[in-house]
Amino acid sequence: MVENWNEIRHDFPALHQLVHGHPLVYLDNAATTQKPNIVLETLLHYYRHDNANVHRGIHELSNRATTAYEAARVRAVRFIHARESSEIIFTRGTTEGINLVAASWGMSHVKKGDEILLTEMEHHSNLVPWQLLAERTGAKLVFLPVTGGDEGLLDVDRLDSLLFRRVKLFAMVHISNSLGTVNPVSWLCERARKAGVVTLVDAAQSAGHLPLDVQQIGCDFLVFSGHKLCGPTGIGVLYGRQELLNEMPPYQGGGDMILSVDYAASRYKSAPHRFEAGTPDISGAIGLHAAFDYLDEVGRDRIWEHDQLLAACAHHGLKDKKGIRVFGPHAGRAGVVSFMVEGVHSHDVVTVADQKGVALRGGHHCTQPLFHKLGVESTARASFYFYNTEEDVDRLIEVIDEVQRFFS
């Protein structure tokens, strides 16, 4: 098994380099993942052979580009178990997907006095768009609290009392990018559905890490980014249930999303094309297709096991050390481990680790309000993916030793 995982590392050219004279240990996967060769080759092949604009073309290259672009959509259906390709909208990423829903669904369904329910552990990308919507409509944001101190768990007992109000939509993160908490999204969506509340799941940290089934989750919208699951930058997916998408007004206007245009007014296509104005990131979608194939060949169930194994190792390794404060659940956590080294600022931790070839991230990880609630400004974060190894965890622990020695 371990041998198998080590072989996989050959697929990732960026992993095989020295950084400041040390072999790179890349532990910033929650920010973005490395790309396997097959994704890069797919991009290259597209640009070398099939590059053309999509949809409106009749000629051979345009045909090939359109076919490949739409095949990526069909592949996305399978990746998350949507029902139809009309439920898949290509976006720039998680952030754009949420903004699209907030602007299009939000502006047409949310009124003054309505409420949007979020959790206290949302990424800024699943908070600021709703703040903008609230400003524009006079709606209010309410929050499902985080409890359990540094463990950072959702206070699910509070859910029903919060849903029992003027809540129109409940947006929740699946896996927290700063704590590694895995939220019970199926259960949360079921409660919301019973209360007649529309749901959005931020799957940025889960889509590439575990098998994902939107039918089983039972959400209305789900968003994720390609670059966090071996795909290129610039592309992501918004899944929306057809019934909802079909009654939503356009987001951006332009070429490709129209049925017919007059100087005075236009008629729009139905989903998904209504929501993809202008030339999309064609190569991005095609590269994403290759990433989907690659991940499912590796197996997202196995990836999830591997993530959990490394997370548990790192969690225990750090927890046992003196002067380290570790965040996130003690058990059942994702491959994201946030921690603080007593007396040392997280950016100093990251700088020292980087000099030893270990790539960590420091800061509030775009969850500033959550961190204020936990009473911290910033943490250092190690986040794993399937190409990381137990030796990588050892290198992490070693480098934290050195940090402590250095600043002691």
Binding site: H55, R56, G57, I58, S62, N63, T66, T67, E70, I258, L259, S260, K269, S270, H273
Partner: protein, 150 residues
């Protein structure tokens, strides 16, 4: 001309596109529907006269490419006198032929449309008038578009 092209633009297709049959309006007709192809802006109106579940007369108007016009023309010829049910069945077989290429002998003149399947970007052209005809037969008022094909 390449073979593929000759397959697409068969004599019969060129003939029907240049001299479309039943190319007229039926003013007092009970059933009318429009078909739009937003990719090219082409648009057809199909007129159907029903008589006890049987298509007594059918005609069309509009502008479009050789493929869509020939398909409309051949369609009106083929459907006249058919029941709604067998018209639908025929559409199913024509669509299969156009999208997958395997015609079946029984399609007669319509099998001239088999070459379209090698031209994926033109499949919508061939199917457009059929969509409009089906919408008309079922008394749908709205304008149908080829977008549902995507």
């Amino acid at each position: 001309m390449t073979e593929d092209l000759a397959d697409l633009y068969q004599e019969l297709i060129l003939d029907h596109s240049k001299s479309p049959r039943n190319f007229r309006a039926i003013p007092q007709c009970q059933r009318v529907a429009q078909g739009d192809n937003p990719i090219c802006g082409d648009n057809y109106t199909v007129y159907v006269v029903l008589d006890g579940g049987v298509i007594r007369d059918m005609a069309f108007q509009g502008s479009g490419c050789a493929i869509s016009k020939a398909s409309a023309s051949l369609m009106t010829e083929a459907l006249k006198g058919k029941s709604i049910a067998s018209a639908e069945a025929l559409f199913g077989r024509v669509r299969e032929m156009i999208t997958q290429g395997h015609g079946d002998g029984s399609l007669e003149k319509l099998s001239a449309l088999a070459g379209v399947h090698q031209f994926p970007a033109r499949v919508k052209c061939a199917i457009l008038p059929w969509h409009a005809a089906m919408a008309a037969m079922h008394g749908k008022e709205e304008c149908v578009t080829t977008e549902s094909e995507e």
